[in-house]
Amino acid sequence: MAFTDHDMEVMDSIIKRYPRNRSAIMPLLHYAQSREGFITNDGIELIAKKLDLAAAEVSAVSTFYTQYKRKQVGEYHVGVCTNTLCAVMGGDAIFAGLKEHLGLENDGVTDDGKVSLEHIECNAACDYAPVVMANWEFYDNQSVQSAKDLVDAMRAGNPPAPTRGPNTLPTWKENSAVLAGISDGRANEGIQAGEPSLLGLKISKKEAK
């Protein structure tokens, strides 16, 4: 895929956010990923040109950060937290269950291109463990069965809404654009807080009564 004139304009606007151009490298990589699904050589060369850097310098940055993919992922990229807390609470069982259910290893993609799978590190939602992320949206308090149902629904084209996120699950490319700082106008969708987030507040209101 070639980058369009519109892409050039967006990328220029991203660069303008910063006092120094090189700071734009990360949002530009997120943006390139939103256009092509992963970081291609074309993407790297374009960013290098935009920032007046060598392609090797951009490549060095992109390979440092795990969210920049160097090969195609699924339309829905599923991450199962297997850091200690989530692993103990069921993340290990969920990850094993999904690998078996999808016939995939870590970093694998289903043949239909719908779902890719990786184990991820702590995603700052430990009070909702075990946690599964899809396109970096929260699916809280999962079980082996709920996770299998989730990926089945993705392959059928109708994934349920995230637990704390927008009303429908955006695609990988759509969410990559959000991470580049391009608004999709969906900030007002979804709940403001899940039950665990309100634990202390509710107790204190009960005490006050």
């Binding site: 956010r17 490298i25 969210q67 995603n123 959000v178 807080a193 202390g200 005490e207």
Partner: protein, 436 residues
């Protein structure tokens, strides 16, 4: 006596539009910024110093003092950078805060930038939380729209540009100098200090790096005064903080309380350890803080007391594990995390975490030997204090502390020929079944 809870940052999270400009303004949102902008910048710094607020990102450095380190009248650009790269295992307070109330951070950033005379401020948020990014982005746009950000904010003549910068999955970028390198567009690797960021930070200019919760606490201090804030907490650990309970607890979640509350009190509020089980070990402030056992249930959770008991308050990330959890498995998984997240810059951390994982894996899989425990401790001894940044030190904490409290369990892995625990017994589904 039971500690009284103090929801300040979380006070309105139960309102459906708490994250919107209208929801925030309903409770005097942005009034503190308006007030601060009428004060002298140095008076704002003094007020924050007087409040006793200490950094909520783990280290507990006095926030006002950090601001005071920024040289004034130096004719250089100054920067404020907020660390929202919340990635320490167990830590889960800043993300729900930003999801429910991003405006309180923006208001705190306006006040802090004014105090340190910064015209540019950045929020570095981790990249794996798309909806948090949406909420923050929208809140920033809305603040620009009404003139709280940009040129001549609050019609005060003050200028502030606020940029949201989204990370891409690197724990090390939570380390402040690695974060700055990342924000400058490089691989996120830590820098040698000194010079400290206050002298040479972002673009080698004076820079304050603060945690989300620290900056979000500032509007309430401006609004209610330093005395109000310092009336909460303990002698040297003032104010309130979010305590995050996770794991084998009946009702996991966030409890905002004065510093100095104990785990015993918090567990009671959260309905105790899950039914039919008992506390085995816990982390007071994330995986990089040495673990505790039942012996520390009554340790006040403030910086001094936790430190005196042999750990660190860290981010108040209370991960609770009951007797079904294998401590070797838990520690192995954390070690795998540190190995994966080691940036590779320094040898003790890069090589050391690799070998720690090899040994722990062998132990867990029944291939360990009698010499392994000493080897683990020896490796830790060669990493702690010799690594370039705190990541390496953190990697040793779970190992040395778990061997201290659970040496017998490590040895049981040798005599049993592997892990004697059933991993399914510790899952959430196991407790759901037992409760059904």
């Amino acid at each position: 006596m039971m500690t009284t809870l103090t929801p300040v940052l979380s006070a309105y999270w139960d309102e459906k539009d708490s994250f919107t400009m209208a929801g925030y303004r309903r409770h005097d949102g942005y009034k503190a910024a308006e007030k601060a902008l009428k004060m002298e910048p140095d008076a704002v710094i003094q007020l924050v110093k007087d409040s006793g607020l200490r950094g909520r990102g783990g280290a507990g450095f006095p926030t006002g003092m950090k601001w005071g380190f920024i040289p004034q009248g130096d004719n250089k650009d100054h920067y404020l950078v907020v660390n929202a790269d919340e990635s320490e295992p167990g830590t889960c307070k800043d993300m729900p805060l930003l999801l429910a109330n991003p405006h309180v951070l923006i208001e705190g950033m306006i006040i802090a930038s004014y105090a340190i005379r910064a015209k540019y401020a950045f929020v570095y948020v981790r990249g794996e939380v798309t909806h948090v990014v949406r909420r923050l982005q929208q809140a920033i746009e809305d603040a620009y729209e009404v003139g709280y950000l940009g040129k001549n904010i609050f019609k005060s003549g003050v200028e502030l540009e606020l940029v949201l910068h989204v990370g891409a999955g690197a724990y090390i970028c939570g380390e402040e100098t690695a974060l700055l390198d990342s924000l400058e567009g490089f691989r996120g690797q830590p820098r040698l200090r000194p010079p400290f960021p206050a002298i040479a930070g972002l673009y080698a200019r004076p820079t304050v790096v603060n945690n989300v919760e620290s900056i979000s606490s500032v509007p309430s201090i401006i609004k209610n005064g330093a005395e109000w804030f310092s009336s909460m907490g303990t002698e040297k650990s003032k104010g309130m903080g979010l305590f995050s309970l996770s794991g084998h607890v009946t009702n996991p979640g966030q409890i905002e309380a004065p510093l100095g509350i104990t785990l015993r009190e918090l567990l009671e509020l959260a309905g105790g350890v899950r039914a039919g089980h008992e506390l085995k070990f816990w982390t007071p402030g994330g995986s990089s803080t040495p673990i505790f056992t039942v012996a520390q249930l009554d340790t006040p959770l403030d910086f001094e007391s936790v430190s005196a008991a042999g750990s660190m308050l860290g981010t108040r990330a209370l991960q609770i594990f009951d007797e079904t959890t294998c401590v070797v498995r838990a520690v192995l998984r954390w070690s795998e995390f540190y190995k994966h997240e080691s940036c590779g810059k320094c040898t003790p951390c890069r090589e050391g975490t690799y070998w720690l994982v090899q040994i722990l894996r062998d132990l867990e899989n029944g291939k360990g030997s009698d010499a392994d425990l000493d080897k683990l401790l020896d490796l830790c001894d060669n990493i702690l204090g010799r690594a370039f940044c705190a990541l390496g030190d953190g990697a040793t904490s779970p190992i040395t502390s778990s061997i201290k409290y659970f040496r017998d369990e490590y040895i049981a892995h040798l005599t049993h020929g592997g892990c004697p625990f059933d991993p399914l017994a510790s899952t959430l589904f196991a407790s759901a079944k037992a409760g059904a």
